[in-house]
Structure formats: structure tokens, C-alpha cells
Amino acid sequence: MEGLATVFPCKQFVFLVVALCLVLPTGQASAEERGNWWQFWSAEDERSQRVKILEPFLEIHTGPGRGFPVFYVAEQDEWITLEKRRTDWFKVTLENGESGWAKRNAMEKTMDAVGEIVRFTDPRVDDFTSRRWEAGVLTGDFDGASVNSLYMGYLMTANLSTELGVSQVLGDFSQNVLANINLVHQPFPHWTLSPFFTLGTGMVWIKPKSTLVREESRQEQSAHVGLGLRYYLADRYFLRVEYKDYVVFTDRDNNEEAKEWKLGLSVFF
């Protein structure tokens, strides 16, 4: 029995030493460098964006819109945390736990922890000329039939971009799907109303209407040239109008030609 009694205090020592060895280094590390693995869990804290109200008050709405009622008014010098953004509204949390939405121009009358007035950037004409990606939807007329298109473009240089597009032509006698790849040249990309020229090739899948005479579906290659205009609207949006002349290479005697007019809305990223 005596042996056991002597062993137990030893065990306590062992635990003590092991515990010390484990605790001390981590204690040192945490004191020296914050931002270790454990801070991963408090990432929210790390990313929290806090600002101080400079105006006499800040109205807090229940929702992200001017029609939602103001349910709380935060005071000058109060610190608020920015949670998220929806269009031009910011969800904020106050120090007393109240949470609601504040409009962007109210947020721009606040100061951050560094002492700078908070500013949010807008996509502007400058971005319109320096953007890299764009995408849009267009609708119009393809040789008498309606056409809906979707495209995505990548700007390689200031003047030259490449585009991939898919169109669905809803005709009276057939329905066609076109897939195109274009090269687009803009001679004056910095103009708000900027003309462009396009040259491309693609495939056409022609499916005659099943309510009409049974005709085989076919697949043809096509080429097109076109020109158009893009007009910068606001924010990241621009209008696009284009005309294209298509040649569909058939294995019949004559190639088919088609004219296409389209108008649409595009966004740039």
C-alpha cells in the first residue's frame, strides 16, 4: 500500500510537468503572435468592419429600402458594425445589439477606426473602358423571326475582345439554335457611345416545326459580319444594339443568308 501512495504523488508530478510543458509554449505563442489557427474561428471578428457615426443621428430601417420603416435612431459617436450589403443598403449592428439597415449615403457620413470618412466605390465610365468581362442578353429579329441571345465577352486589349454567344431563333417554320464565337473591335472604347465591328463563325442547328411537314433536323456552319453600338447607361450597365449579316453554308446549291437586328442590356465585371 505504501508503494502505491508513493507512486501517486509521482504521477501528479508527471501530469504537472506535462501540463506545464503543454500550456507554457502555447501561452507564449498566443501572447506573441495573435492571428493563429484558433483565430480562424473568430474570422467574423477579424473581418468586422466598424464605423463611427459623425452626423447627429443615423436612421435604422427594418429593411433594405426606403419604404421600410425607421425603427431606431443611432446617435452621434456610436460605433456600428457593417454586416452585409444589398444594393445601396447596409445591414448594421449597433453596440447595444440592435440591428437594421442604413442607406449608403448615410453610411458615407461615418468614420472608420483609422479616422477616414467611409467611401464606397461605384462602377463608373472609367470601369466601362477598363473592364475585362461582360455579359448580356439581347432580343430582336432574325430574318423575320424572333431571336433571344445570351453572350459573354472577354476584353483582350482595349480595342479587341472575344465573345461567345448562344441564340435561339423562334421562327414560323423552324426553330434554330446558333452558337457563335466573335471577334469584336472597338475603335473608340473610351467613348460613352462606342461603335464596334464584329466578325465571327459558328454553328446553326435547324429543327423544322413538327406541326409542319416532317423534315430532317440539320446542322450547318455559319459565318457573320456585323456592326453595332454600345451605350453606357449607369453603374455597370450598358445598352447594346447590333446588326449582323449571316451566311449559313449549306450543302445545297445556294448558301442561305440572314439579317439579324438585336437590342439588349449588358453588364461588365
Binding site: 510537468v17 444594393t87 464606397f120 433571344n148 423562334l170 416545326k209 413538327s210
Partner: protein
């Protein structure tokens, strides 16, 4: 025996602690070289970084309800929608829906007549619409519960694939949105899809009404 083992462990502890004491000493030396604030601030002052603010302008939803396809009965419709909120008032919606239609009265009464093949009875539509939220407000459920709501109208263009044919389709309608939280909402929607059809002989414009209930998430 006891003293022996204690001595061993004491020696061990000493071995462990001496390097630490050294480390602390050097830390103290560094301290004296570079004076620091007595209480270092808990949070370093940070500039507001716009890129770190989570933007929730997209809304993805699923809906189901009843769609009445002219001459082909009223049927269950399922669909999906992706909304992009351009501003607090305007949004763009990409909608896709699918329904399986019934036989027309003519087919039912006519005995062995069949207008369409089975595959052609399925109706699939897609559209891109512009929506305008013009009656935002709050709805009250009892004394303590209030939800934000929006009433919106929308109109757009798209295509409908039905009866072996794709047709340009105009759509318009309205919806009532109830936001349970900032990012979960319910939509009650009514839409009309207008397209031409020549299934029963001559071309005619059909009105196809759809009444649906949807659930959406903002992200």
C-alpha cells in the same frame, strides 16, 4: 525512494523552465530596447474595406403551383428563379418552369384521337423579366411579429417549348414577397405567359395563367 523520485522530477522541471526563463529575459531586454504601449490595444484600428462586406444582391428560388395551359388543362408547375437586384426598386429575373399538360377536351371526347405525342405534351418555358418592387412595407402577424414585404410587378420575354415547337413568349405578372429573415423569403406569384400556338389549326394567341408559391434565399 520518495525523495529520489521527487528529485528526478524537480530536475526535469528545472530543465524545462530554464530555457523559458532565458526566453523571458531576452523578451525583457527587447522590451527595454523598444518601448511599447503599456496596454497594447485589443483591436488594431482598421480601415473599412469595401471588399470584405458581404454583398447579397442575388436571390435564388424554387416555386410550385398551378399553370393553366390554354386547351390543355390546369396542371402542377415547378420552376426556379434567379433574381438579381439592381437597386432597391428594380430586379432582373431569370425564370424557368416545367409542367406536364393533360389531354384537350377534344381528345377526351373524340375517343381515340391524339393531338400530341407524349413528349410533346410537356411544356418548358424560360424568360428574363424586369421587376419593379413598388409597394414595400410590413405585414403584421399578431402583436409581436412583423415581416418585411414587397409587392412587385414584372414583365419580360422568353421562349416556351411546347407541342414540338418553340415560341417567343411574353410574360407579365405580379408577386407578393414576405421576408422571414434578411435572406429567406416567400413569394406568392401570378403570371401570364402569352404565346402563339397553331396546334389546333390556325395560329392563335394563347394566355396561360400561372399561380405559384415560392421560397427564395438571398446570397
Amino acid at each position: 525512494m520518495e525523495t529520489w523520485s521527487q528529485r528526478i522530477f524537480l530536475a526535469l522541471i528545472a530543465c524545462c523552465l530554464i530555457p523559458m526563463a532565458h526566453a523571458q529575459e531576452s523578451a525583457v531586454q527587447e522590451d527595454t530596447e523598444q518601448p511599447r504601449a503599456i496596454i497594447p490595444p485589443d483591436v488594431e484600428p482598421r480601415k473599412v474595406d469595401e471588399a470584405l462586406i458581404d454583398t447579397e444582391d442575388f436571390e435564388l428560388g424554387l416555386y410550385t403551383g398551378i399553370m393553366s395551359v390554354e386547351d390543355f388543362g390546369s396542371n402542377l408547375v415547378v420552376g426556379g428563379m434567379l433574381n438579381y437586384h439592381l437597386s432597391e426598386d428594380l430586379f432582373v429575373r431569370l425564370g424557368v418552369g416545367y409542367t406536364e399538360t393533360q389531354e384537350t377536351s377534344f381528345e377526351k371526347l373524340g375517343g381515340d384521337v391524339s393531338l400530341l405525342e407524349d413528349d410533346d405534351r410537356n411544356l418548358l418555358y424560360y424568360n428574363l423579366s424586369l421587376g419593379y418592387k413598388f409597394l414595400p412595407g410590413e405585414a403584421f402577424f399578431g402583436d409581436d411579429l412583423a415581416f418585411n414585404t414587397n409587392f412587385y410587378v414584372l414583365a419580360g420575354l422568353g421562349s416556351t417549348e411546347f407541342a414540338g415547337d418553340s415560341r417567343l413568349t411574353a410574360n407579365f405578372g405580379w408577386g407578393y414577397q414576405i421576408l422571414f429573415t434578411d435572406w429567406v423569403s416567400m413569394h406568392l406569384m401570378m403570371q401570364d405567359y402569352i404565346f402563339d400556338s397553331d396546334i389546333l389549326g390556325e395560329d392563335k394567341t394563347t394566355q396561360n395563367l400561372e399561380f405559384t408559391l415560392g421560397l427564395s434565399l438571398f446570397f
